[in-house]
Amino acid sequence: MEVVFRHLLGRLARSGMASPDDVHIATCDDTIAWHRPPTAAADFAQMMNALRLGTLLFGAPMEPYRTLIAHQAAQALAQGQDAIFPSDSETRTFLHRIPCLPAFTPAALAAALANAAVVISAQGHVASRGFFSPFEALVHFSSACFAAQVRFVVQSLDPPSRATAPVDVGADAARRVLLDHLQPLPPVPPQHPAPFHSEVEVLRAIAHAGRTTVHHRLVDSAFGNASLLRDGVLYISQTGAPLDELEGQIDACHLDASHTNAITASSELAAHLAIVQHARFDGVLHGHPPMTVALSMHCDLPDCAQRHRCHTHCQTPRSLNGVPIVCGEVGAGDHGLCHTVPAALAHNDAAIVLGHGVFVGATGDFCAATQRLCDIENAAAAECKKRISRWWG
């Protein structure tokens, strides 16, 4: 179990989510093991059994997440709401709502986690659960941090006259913490350059690009995906694979559609296939850079008829620093981004999906694509900083 704990804690730390000393992890098969038992460990264990949990992960995330979460949970509770409803794609699709508690007690957590994957508290803490694997808890923990950050940034992009959330002292403090952490990302490290002479080299290049994307905080947990074409086969990360651990988690998808092995490929396989078949790219890199996602959700048309379904129905041509913003949901449904992103990449090297993330076309290798993704996020972060500073001082 020590190996599992080390792995999970290492991932939390490397992704800037949480320090090992600030969280508690319990895993359970027939007996419970803690990496660091909390006070009232027995009560938490009882709760895990009652909820059939295999993993419980809770504690304080790193800044700025901790402050942003504390502020939003406290604000929701003060307004008599028991949850926040972020509208980024990750939350809308997988979580729907994030329950809020004043503080985490075993009894309160048991009630909140009975129908939710992750809960936040007014103390800035996050609690998440897994039924099958510790990694499941990590994904939910990370999603809550991401969602809270994006939600707060979106609220802060409006001037005070149009603020949708109460203007209070807590919000000012939270904005200061956010701005302190909005630093430009450094240039990405060199990637494996084309040409690739074997499948092994392709897989290595994809894995390296994935690691870079995670280490630069351009995607969180198990989201994002990457692909590269070679000899009629599109190599693409598997669904739910963390981009910084892609070794052994890349599917080979034959463009002649002769095999169905790629049934476990990323949810965005349909978009990747359309891009490499109909645009001019050899591959795709997809991340969820938070400031770009937040900025894509900000709209200057408060009375727009599509206000609450802009992620699928926005008709207004929009862009960020020349990168088009398109609609679309995860996957290949009627409103799937597979219908919008390939068309956008026919004339651009990148496209932003509203409230979701960025797709960058790769030519030959990921050298330019990783840097492009980084540049898009740096530009978005600078724009967010400028707007927030302008409106809120």
């Binding site: 909820l51 059939r52 499941e136 739910g240 095999h259 169905t260 092995n261 049934i263 476990t264």
Partner: protein, 569 residues
């Protein structure tokens, strides 16, 4: 057309005594609904309450049937298994659950034996017993034709010779294939049931229900296995064949290998090139995983049938597999059992099987010639149920769940394929037992709750129990959350073990055929498929028994039963 304001109190339990040709009905007590919901929960409860005499067969639609909640049209059937002597608990798709709910029926409890072949005909809550005609009994499509416009479930001609591996066919294309349910109908001289209804159940909170259904559909669209370019909605479940082959989990040559070199000749792509087809769906299902041949409106083989009629028999002739599946569907035979018996006999005799051998034997069985069915030493089965086409050496959670399933070699009771192969909701290490006992308990409880709602198992590749708990609340008006559903699921699972104890099915049978502990599977390009470590398996099983609240011997205990609110009389 009638509209019922809520689903809480509307539908009835119908008792049908075939011996006395007597039919009556009663409401479902509120506390029974609370404890067991509907579907598999209610059916299992009714079987337990029926007692040990004159084994009934019970059919129940799920709690969300006919509410337009996505993929909630499974009907549950429970009875005593002709294969194991223990519990038979299966679900089937199509429109039967939908029709039963619209007829205002929550459960059919059928017992006794008719003095002549009969049919139960249901129009709303009017239930009749009618004599079966020769036309109805010719084959399963003929039965569907005789009741055009109605939902149907029927045994075929194969069942009427006491074939223990006879199936039930629903609406021509769907079925309750495994476990011998067709033989249960035959024992009662019951040919089939035809149902139609006109009620339109209305959710208690329509706006909330619409919102939850939209959430569910969004999760379906986000699931590669359900809706991706190679997902079930495009290619049917036969899309699994290539994946299982690549993972070295495709049972080949009667489980003597786990890779079929001719897989690319018989995969989903070839199937759809060979036979142009369109999608078929159970009522209210947006996935539509069934493929229907355009040429003759027959269903094409699902993954389980396709894999066993090809790889298991080392048959690279796709047309033979399609024809074999069609014979089974038409005559009401379980295709996977048939293939497993053929493979075992071939191994026993040290011979191979030609396409003609396969089809000849199936014709014999479909005509009811099973009296001379020899014992097959190498028949790969657990508790009398044939092994499905997923090799347990390639997924150890699967190994544990197959061995300890209450109804035999059932891959769906816990369905670890979702995590160990399809990576949903999260990928786990398939070559490790770590955490698998806990995951199995959770999955079994979740799936039992899903069956109580009428939910298709495949849907857990996208949505979770939480979305369906929200849907249940919106439909019934009674607050429900995922943990509440898990408690109901736990109660169902435990009651099933109590039933097996009553039936005399011992946990000694909670193991795998010896081959899996002794022989390796076929190695992959960069991984081995080792025999299962028997001690690690035993440890995992002991952990599972503890987590499930069973005794060390695997038997249910009075204390745990009481904890779950089950009365053990």
């Amino acid at each position: 057309m009638k509209n019922s304001p809520s689903l809480r109190d509307t539908s009835a339990l119908v008792h049908i005594d075939l011996t006395r040709r007597h039919i009556d009905s009663a409401p479902i007590p509120a506390d029974v609904r609370r404890q067991f919901l509907a579907g598999r929960g209610l059916a299992t409860h009714l079987l337990w309450e029926h007692g040990a005499d004159d084994d009934p067969v019970i059919l129940c639609p799920g709690a969300l049937a006919a509410t337009q909640t996505p993929a909630t049209s499974r009907v549950s059937l429970v009875a005593r298994s002709p294969l194991s002597g223990g519990l038979l608990s299966e679900t089937g798709g199509g429109s039967l659950a939908h029709a039963l709910r619209r007829a205002g029926i929550s459960a059919l409890r059928i017992f006794g034996r008719a003095d002549a072949p009969c049919v139960i005909r249901i129009q709303d809550q009017r239930v009749q017993l009618i004599d079966a005609t020769d036309d109805m009994m010719r084959d399963t499509p003929s039965f569907a034709d005789a009741f055009a416009g109605m939902a149907t479930i029927c045994a075929g001609p194969a069942a009427r010779s006491n074939t223990p591996f006879a199936s039930l066919v629903i609406d021509r294309h769907f079925g309750i294939w495994r476990g011998g349910a067709g033989a249960v109908f035959a024992q009662k001289n019951l040919v089939g049931i035809a149902v139609t209804g006109t009620e339109t159940p209305q959710p208690n909170d329509p706006a909330r229900h619409r919102q939850v259904c939209a959430d569910i559909r969004r999760l379906i669209d986000a699931s590669p296995a359900l809706a991706g370019p190679y997902g079930f909605s495009r290619l049917g479940t036969s899309a699994l064949l290539d994946l299982l082959n690549a993972r070295r989990m495709l049972p080949t040559n009667n489980f003597r290998a786990t890779f079929f070199p001719h897989g690319s000749q018989v995969n989903a792509v070839q199937l759809h090139r060979a036979v142009p087809s369109h999608t078929g769906a159970c009522a209210d299902c947006p996935v539509a995983c069934k493929r229907i041949a355009t040429r003759d409106n027959r269903a094409l083989p699902n993954f389980e049938s396709l894999a066993h009629f090809t790889a298991l028999l080392e048959n690279a002739h796709l047309e033979t597999a399609i024809a074999a599946d069609a014979i089974c569907r038409q005559s009401g035979l379980n295709p996977t059992y048939c293939a497993a018996r053929l493979a075992a006999t071939a191994e026993d005799e040290g011979t191979g099987l030609s396409p003609d051998d396969i089809l000849h034997q199936l014709h014999q069985w479909s005509a009811g010639h099973v009296d001379d069915l020899p014992d097959a030493a190498n028949f790969m089965a657990i508790k009398g149920m044939e092994m499905p086409p997923y090799d347990p050496r390639g997924a150890l959670g699967l190994a544990l769940s197959l061995a300890t399933s209450t109804r035999g070699a059932c891959h769906l009771e816990a369905w670890p394929i979702a995590t160990e192969v399809l990576r949903k909701p999260v990928a786990v290490d398939r070559f490790s037992f770590a955490g698998k006992a806990r995951a199995q308990r959770f999955s079994e409880d979740r799936n039992a709750a899903g069956d109580a709602l009428g939910l298709c198992r495949l849907l857990f590749l996208g949505p979770t129990l939480a979305e369906y708990a929200d849907a249940t609340t919106a439909v019934t008006g009674d607050p429900m959350d995922a943990t509440g559903l898990l408690h109901i699921g736990a109660r169902i699972c435990y009651l099933e073990r109590m039933l097996n104890q009553r039936f005399g099915l011992s946990p000694h049978s909670d193991t795998l055929p010896a081959r899996f502990f002794a022989e390796p599977g076929t190695a992959g390009p960069d991984f081995a498929v080792a025999p299962i470590d028997e001690r690690a398996f035993a440890d995992a099983k002991a952990r599972y028994y503890r987590i499930r609240g069973l005794g060390e011997d695997g038997l249910p205990t009075l204390a745990e039963a009481e904890k779950l609110g089950l009365s053990w009389k």
